[in-house]
């Protein structure tokens, strides 16, 4: 994919009185990208999305859309369209009329308008429901109509504010796949707001993780998950074991730390890493710790005792106490080999890959 910026957020702040809902955020989103804004409720995701759509204005800073500064340009004159969290389907119009709403202003001839409405409804698998009244739709159907109504305008950027949060789990997972496919088919830049880490990981090309008005990290789903820049990101995106460590060596790209349980580890230094004396934190994901069965051995292993066990169907979470560690380790193991049968209180040995240990800024 050629890297052409579609959206540039340039030092944007949105303040409500003394409170900053968005604090000096900068970000570039490429053309054709599926980009997610991920963060806990109240961190400023919607605020940023609404400013891109033209429903709100930055207190300071500039938003560029396809190279053009958007300051003061209202929503109805921006090449963006939005799928609202409430879907905002016009209740007095039927499905086809909802989809045709924005086309009316383009004054297309009737045949062309009909063709585009049908095409958009086809894209969201609603072709047969054009005549259906807006108040007779299920949640999933409303979501599809909202999507078709925005797509039919052929925007440069499609904005989606938690579009799947009102759907039940099964439908949500199905829509994640469909939405991703749709984005690849139409090639439009999508910006998705979500507080669901799995949704963001599953759908996005890149993710911006946000906390209380600040962007903590912008990276691919894999990097966000495997190389989180700090404890907050690591903790929000999936489970993470934190291990206290002492810094014993440092150069421009790597740091070497000493831990009681994992020994001496040399790892890549994260971008925002700031050393505070000798103390550091290492992180390792629960699924990167592997149970060693019977007399199997590994180059890197660690011994402990199972103190608790949680069954999740395909996997089991084992809580393992390790001598010399303050917090017990959380281990996620598939049930293929009988991890769900390990008794609480049993001694256990775990293997790990030192590459799975990441240094984290606090």
């Amino acid at each position: 994919m050629p890297e052409t910026p579609m959206i540039k957020i340039d030092h944007v702040t949105r303040a409500y009185g003394a409170f900053k809902a968005l604090d000096d955020a900068s970000l570039t989103i490429q053309k054709g990208e599926f980009f997610s804004l991920l963060g806990p409720s109240g961190c400023g995701k919607t605020t940023l999305l609404r400013m891109i759509g033209g429903f709100d204005n930055p207190t300071s800073g500039t938003i560029y859309l396809d190279g053009q500064a958007m300051n003061g340009i209202p929503a109805n004159r921006r090449p963006t369209n939005m799928v609202f969290q409430s879907y905002a389907i016009f209740p007095h119009l039927n499905v086809a009329q909802n989809v045709a709403y924005g086309l009316k202003r383009l004054r297309l001839d009737a045949v062309e308008e009909k063709r585009r409405v049908e095409e958009a409804l086809g894209q969201v698998s609603m072709a047969h429901l054009g005549k259906r009244g807006a108040t007779e739709l299920s949640g999933g159907q409303r979501q599809r109509v909202a999507l078709a109504r925005a797509l039919v305008m052929r925007p440069k950027v499609l904005l989606l504010d938690e579009p799947l949060s009102a759907l039940d789990k099964k439908l949500r997972e199905q829509m994640q796949v469909e939405l991703r496919k749709l984005q690849q088919a139409v090639g439009i830049t999508f910006i998705l707001v979500t507080h669901d880490q799995y949704e963001a990981l599953a759908m996005s090309d890149r993710i911006a993780v946000m906390f209380s008005g600040n962007i903590a990290q912008v990276a691919t789903p894999k990097d966000i998950y495997q190389r989180p820049v700090n404890r907050q990101v690591a903790d929000f995106v999936g489970g993470m074991n934190f291990v206290a460590a002492e810094i014993v060596g440092e150069d421009s790209g790597t740091i070497t730390v000493e831990t009681t349980s994992f020994g001496r580890v040399k790892t890549e230094k994260p971008v925002q890493f700031v050393t505070k004396g000798k103390a550091a934190t290492l992180g390792i994901r629960p699924e990167r710790l592997r149970v060693l069965w019977d007399d199997a051995t590994d180059k890197y292993e660690i011994a402990g005792k199972v103190v608790d066990r949680h069954y999740f169907g395909e996997i089991t979470h084992l809580i393992v106490e390790v001598p010399g560690m303050e917090q017990p380790l959380s281990v996620s193991e598939t049930n293929n080999f009988g991890a769900d049968d390990i008794p609480v209180g049993a001694p256990i040995r775990l293997a790990y890959d030192p590459d799975a240990l990441v240094a984290l800024a606090d």
Binding site: G53, S86, A88, G102
Partner: protein, 273 residues
Amino acid sequence: MNIVRRLLSNWLPVYAVLYVAFLYLPILLLPIFSINQSAVPQFPLTGYTMKWYAGLPNTPELLSSAWNSLIVGLSASIVSTILGICAARAITRYRFRGQRVASGLIMAPLVLPEIIVAVSMLLVLLQLGVGLSLFTVILGHILICIPYSVTVLISGFEGFDRSLEEASADLGESAWGTFRRVTLPMVAPAIISSLLVSFTISLDEFILAFFLSGTEPTLPVYIWGQLRFAAKLPSVLALGTLLLLASFMMLSIAEILRRRAARRAQNEGGVYA
């Protein structure tokens, strides 16, 4: 406790029936005597006739007072609905200081004794040197219609999802286009319903009209004047029957529209549940 409950359960239905009869029998008598041959409203009935109705169009004073009522009713209902739209939108859309006090004051004419309102308005108008005319009647009627308009409109505006207007803007529509294509169609039933309710109230209103009209009476004031002449009574009954029918029809249409608007707004809001 038990005795009270038994007494209540035995006598409450009786009380309810008596109450309803007391309320509606006199009104039922109106159409009955209006098609009675005899000029005296008395049982037994003497025979069927439509002559009292047929005579109505030949009474110039009646026609001019009906015309006055129409002008007053239309003006009062339009103005009170426009003011009501502003108030209802402010109350349902925004949170502002003194909101409760403001809505309380808007609703107050509902419970103020009308005669007091009438006398005070008369005093003020005389002080200001405004001559009594249909215009002063319209002013008075606007005052008493607004609480009804606001009540009807609030129930139409409530649940109106703000993002509908944003969605319209998002799809390229201007502020005026959004109002015309989204806001108006959605609140139209409530607006029509408010127009009908205030028109009906103005049409039936007597006390304010009596105090504030100059030489141009409205229908109720004209009817009251006619009651002094026994011979005119059957015509009054016929006229009253027509007024009753008109009011009943307008209020029914208004209620149907109000419910339809409320249901629509509810359906829209339903997804959050």
